[in-house]
């Protein structure tokens, strides 16, 4: 018997599967699939649906520049991680923001049209936030795998077209 989790797994595999597809792939009916997805969305379990883009394959004038930024912060009695993250996450240039363990506190991903734009964003908007003590920016040069998808996965089917 299929579980609700399977519907989640299928949407993570391909968010464009229709409710009809998912019903055929599981033991659920189409209306049950639609209901479960609605529930996931309402409960905030599914937060959105996005395409996984290989920017290297996009025409250069439409290219996006991305960087990951290590942020160190200091806290005081009045300021928590949540307060700082609220301020940072609001910027549309920030595509992801995570609190991490290790040598730095926040792991930030930033996207812009050029290196210049990204640099200015870090120096003008992020670095001046009073709690931030240090930023280290890494520009992404090449992306090999995003969200579980390999970009050059050599998956040509070399099997014989008919075999016993």
């Amino acid at each position: 018997m299929s579980s609700r989790r399977e519907i989640l797994d299928l949407l993570r595999e391909n968010a464009r599967y229709t409710t009809e597809d998912i019903a055929r792939l599981t033991d659920y009916s189409e209306s049950e699939v639609a209901e479960v997805i609605d529930e996931f969305e309402e409960a905030g379990i599914i937060r959105g649906y996005q395409a996984v883009v290989d920017w290297n394959a996009v025409e250069s004038d439409e290219e996006r520049v991305r960087a990951t930024v290590e942020l160190n912060v200091t806290l005081d009695r009045e300021t928590s991680y949540d307060d700082i993250s609220d301020r940072i996450a609001k910027f549309p240039e920030v595509t992801s923001l995570r609190l991490v363990s290790g040598d730095y506190d926040f792991d930030l991903e930033v996207e812009g049209d050029s290196m210049r734009e990204v640099s200015h964003f870090i120096s003008d908007k992020i670095a001046p936030i009073p709690e931030i003590t240090q930023t280290v920016t890494h520009y992404i040069m090449e992306s090999y795998k995003e969200q579980g998808m390999e970009f050059d996965d050599h998956d040509d089917d070399d099997r014989l077209s008919v075999s016993p």
Binding site: L10, R24, L25, L160, S161, P164
Partner: protein, 381 residues
């Protein structure tokens, strides 16, 4: 003196799948649902272990029976997953694919002139394998109304009681049929009553979706008369490594090994290193691949139902076996290939028992599978 095939070779026709393969190979842009192997590559950890073994220079022969570490792991694996208890020292033989194991069993455990009952439709190598060994074949055609399961009734009516051994494969290639514990118990009783050896091809055991797989060797009085064949090709997606194994009481393994040590010496060494890693660290991948096949199975069965194509709910391997809407399944498959560029295999390629049906493999990515189903639907209309 010129080269002429020996009589027993000449008596075996070329594989029925061959002609179809040649037809499909000539065409571009086909979606093939005619493939009898996984679309996944072998798990990366297993491939990496093979590479590492080559880097370390581990390229010599192994023990005839296979590396000790591999046989130990096979014993543990079979005990924990299929409730089979075999001694890795005396009761397990690592072979170049399950097919080699079956060939060894025909030659080592039966005499020319003995007869073997073969449940049909079946994998293409059983009948030729028996014939090459000089063994007579008793066809046991399973029936569509039994969902291609082996029953006492078909065993009795086909004269299997007079045979020396029974060969079958469940979960089945080409039908996708499986046998429950109760159904297998009937077959076991028949084999005990009629003193048949059993060659049980369980290569698809881990791809059983609706119930647990039951090995006949776990049933009372069966272990001593059964050789179980399994391997890494299907569940572990390692077809090209050519690695399987046979499990049986010491006398059977000893006899099979006597041929194996001269003809094969030992199964491929690199493949054995990959298989050790596969058993140690790739079980999660097997579970994930099996879950993917199960989804595709549901998808294909649902789509066939939507198009009004009769198909029993195949619960194993990666095949569905719908009834062909035309009288001649070969003609249907050929037209489907030519007009819609979708390859399926006519059931007759797997023996007479498969006539009037089509083998549809869902070992194909979901995007292709969806497109293929749409094309079949438009072909039917």
């Amino acid at each position: 003196m010129t080269f002429e095939p020996a009589d027993r070779v000449d008596s075996v026709p070329p594989s029925g799948i061959r002609r179809f393969f040649e037809l499909a190979e000539e065409m571009d842009d086909i979606i093939s649902l005619g493939v009898g192997e996984p679309d996944f590559s072998a798990p990366w950890a297993a491939r990496e272990a093979a590479i590492a073994s080559l880097e370390r220079g581990q390229t010599s022969y192994t023990a005839n029976r296979g590396k000790q570490e591999l046989r130990d792991r096979i014993a543990d694996y079979e005990a924990s997953t299929h409730n089979l208890q075999y001694d890795p020292d005396e009761e397990i033989l690592v072979t170049a694919g399950a097919s080699e194991g079956l060939d060894l069993a025909f030659r080592a455990l039966l005499n020319p002139g003995d007869s073997v009952a073969i449940a049909q439709p079946c994998y293409v190598s059983y009948v030729p394998g028996a014939t090459f060994a000089g063994i007579d074949v008793v066809d046991v055609p399973t029936r569509a109304e039994d969902e291609f399961k082996l029953t006492r009734e078909v065993l009795e009516s086909s004269g299997a009681a007079e045979a020396d051994a029974l060969v079958y494969c469940y979960p089945n290639n080409p039908t996708g049929a499986t046998m429950t514990a109760e159904e297998m118990a009937d077959v076991a009783a028949f084999c005990r009553e009629n003193d048949l050896l059993v060659f049980a091809d369980e290569i698809y055991a881990d791809l059983t979706y609706e119930h647990d797989h039951t090995s006949i060797a776990t049933l009372p009085g069966m272990r001593e008369r059964t050789v179980v064949f399994n391997g890494f090709s299907k569940a572990f997606a390692m077809t090209g490594f050519r690695l399987g194994y046979a499990m049986a009481p010491p006398k059977a393994i000893e006899a099979m090994n006597r041929i194996h040590q001269y003809s094969m010496l030992s199964a491929p060494t690199t493949a054995q290193h990959a298989a050790i890693e596969a058993l140690d660290n790739c079980r999660d991948e097997v579970t994930e691949m099996s879950a993917q096949y199960d989804r595709r199975r549901k998808y294909v069965l649902t789509r066939f139902e939507e198009m009004g194509l009769d198909c029993f709910p195949a619960a194993g391997a990666f095949y569905a076996f719908p009834e062909c809407p035309w009288d001649d399944a070969g003609e249907f498959a050929e037209s489907l290939l030519q007009e819609k560029r979708v390859a399926v295999v006519p059931g007759t390629a797997f023996g007479e028992g498969g006539s009037g049906h089509l083998r549809v493999s869902y070992a194909t990515g979901l995007d292709d599978l969806k497109e293929a189903m749409a094309r079949i639907e438009s072909f039917l209309n």
